[in-house]
């Protein structure tokens, strides 16, 4: 079904620091089309910072990001979103005051064209557009099996469901690259299985390239095609799950012999 293609996202020698604290040091790796690429590493290794650089939320001091052959010194969140990169968050970043439907609808934002006046009048173009996108959002709701909570304000939902809504909002963008920041953190086994299934389905059905940060090694090894390992902001391993598993430096970092 899916076939891994060329490199679409390439990070070269990215370094990022906050004041004097180095978060990332000289990191390079690439992501190929349609693959599931995992980033792993102990806490504080710089995994989330990595995603934030790709997103343009953080601005690295050095290095560049190459997206489909285009070179960027730094990314800009709006342009990244336009380029078809979506993202979920480690700490929940849903819009708490809005219902599930509205949260996912925000993901359609870039595809909606009605202007402010048309929206204020509502009847006409704005309503047609709203209905069309609502239908699309309902497909995502069906896919994620959250029909029963579609009108609930997300602030009231349990953690596991919120994670699903977060994924739904990202999917609503119909992204080509999906960045997932610990989608399974804090879940029980059953919820993890569900989430893994959704991720594989997205990758399989829509051909979406996935960059995944995850702690659960079992999940990572099962899902991903290639794995990058970070430790203290440096890259210490890169390759297939099997290669990484046997990499002595990775074993050292995880077993924590030296620190």
């Amino acid at each position: 079904m899916r076939e891994i293609g060329d490199v679409i996202l390439d990070l070269r020698s990215v370094s990022l620091a906050f004041g004097g604290v180095k978060a990332l040091t000289d990191i390079s790796f690439d992501v190929r089309e349609h693959e599931i690429r995992a980033i792993i590493g102990p806490n504080g290794a710089g995994k989330s910072s990595m995603l934030n650089v790709i997103n343009g939320v953080y601005r690295p001091q050095e290095g560049e990001v190459i997206l489909r052959g285009e070179h960027f010194r730094r990314m800009d969140p709006y342009r990244v979103a336009r380029a078809g990169i979506a993202r979920t968050f480690q700490s929940l970043a849903l819009f708490k005051g809005m219902s599930v439907i509205d949260n996912i609808m925000t993901g359609r934002n870039l595809k909606m064209k009605a202007n402010l006046f048309q929206q204020a009048v509502w009847w006409g173009p704005a309503q047609r557009e709203e209905l069309a996108h609502r239908a699309k959002v309902e497909e995502i709701i069906d896919f994620l099996e959250i029909q029963h909570i579609r009108k609930t304000p997300v602030g009231r939902l349990p953690y596991g469901l919120q994670k699903r809504v977060d994924l739904g909002r990202a999917l609503a963008m119909e992204p080509q690259i999906l960045l997932l920041d610990e989608p399974m953190a804090g879940m029980n086994v059953e919820e993890k299985q569900d989430m893994s299934r959704f991720i594989l389905d997205v990758n399989d059905q829509f051909g979406t390239t996935i960059v995944l940060i995850e702690h659960d090694m079992g999940v990572v090894m099962d899902l991903s095609d290639r794995v990058v390992v970070l430790d203290y902001g440096r890259k210490i391993g890169d390759g297939s799950p099997d290669e990484v598993r046997t990499n002595p430096e990775v074993i050292k970092a995880y077993l924590g012999a030296s620190h």
């Binding site: 906050f18 989330s48 934030n52 968050f89």
Partner: protein, 309 residues
Amino acid sequence: MAFFLETLIGGLMAGMLYSLVALGFVLIYKASGVFNFAQGALVLFAALAMARFSEWLPAWTGIENPVLANIGAFIVAGLIMFVVAWLIERLVLRHLVNQEGATLLMVTLGIAYLLEGIGQGFFGNDIYKIDVGMPKEPVLVLENMFEGGILINKEDFIAALIAALLVGALALFFQKTATGRALRAVADDHQAAQSIGIPLSRIWVIIWCVAGLVALVAGIIWGSKLGVQFSLATVALRALPVVILGGLTSIPGAIVGGLIIGVGEKLSEVYLGPYVGGGIEIWFAYMLALVFLLFRPQGLFGEKIIDRV
């Protein structure tokens, strides 16, 4: 030249008074992350208490000594500010731990209305006098350097001196005492401070007390200058740009910011005012702070905020 200097010194002294009110803002913001819009109401409340008790105490006790009356009134007013601080922590702040800054700001707006209502309802709403014996007559200085010398208001001078002393004392308190260190820890991180056993609520009561005392001193100085009346509550609005300019978390910032705003206001009023019809000092300070804000959001001495996601 002499005129310029006179304006400059006048501005510096007015600035010192702004600093005093600004100090109240900074103290509370440092310790609780609350941008205390009620600081002006606290000043009014404290001044009203001071003014009224200095009338009432002699009437009640029959002791007509003005010095004793003032000291008594100061103590009573101080106690009242303590009760106010305690009530604010008890009834309001403790229910709003970890809320957003905007919510806290709006709450203090509510507190301001409450204090203004209660203060005027209880103490009355006329114009009252505070007379702590500040000399009113102006003096001439530097007569041998400039022709005609420079006219300085003695009252302003003493007020500026008191303000400077108070600031020094607070700086010592923050740096050298255990309570001061605890306050700074709370300012850095509420939860971390709580986890090492610093009692958050007590710290907040203390800091609001200190802010209340600062308000009392500011109230006495402003009150003896302008009379105690409702408009005293609006000095907080005048002091706001000071805090923004100096940085919300910095005590020296409040001082330097106050001086800059004081001088800026006076100079702009004197040299710019005539061309645009006067009365520009209020918004001029805001515009100054606003422009500054666009280039340096954390203010002159504030800590740089790094957003981490």
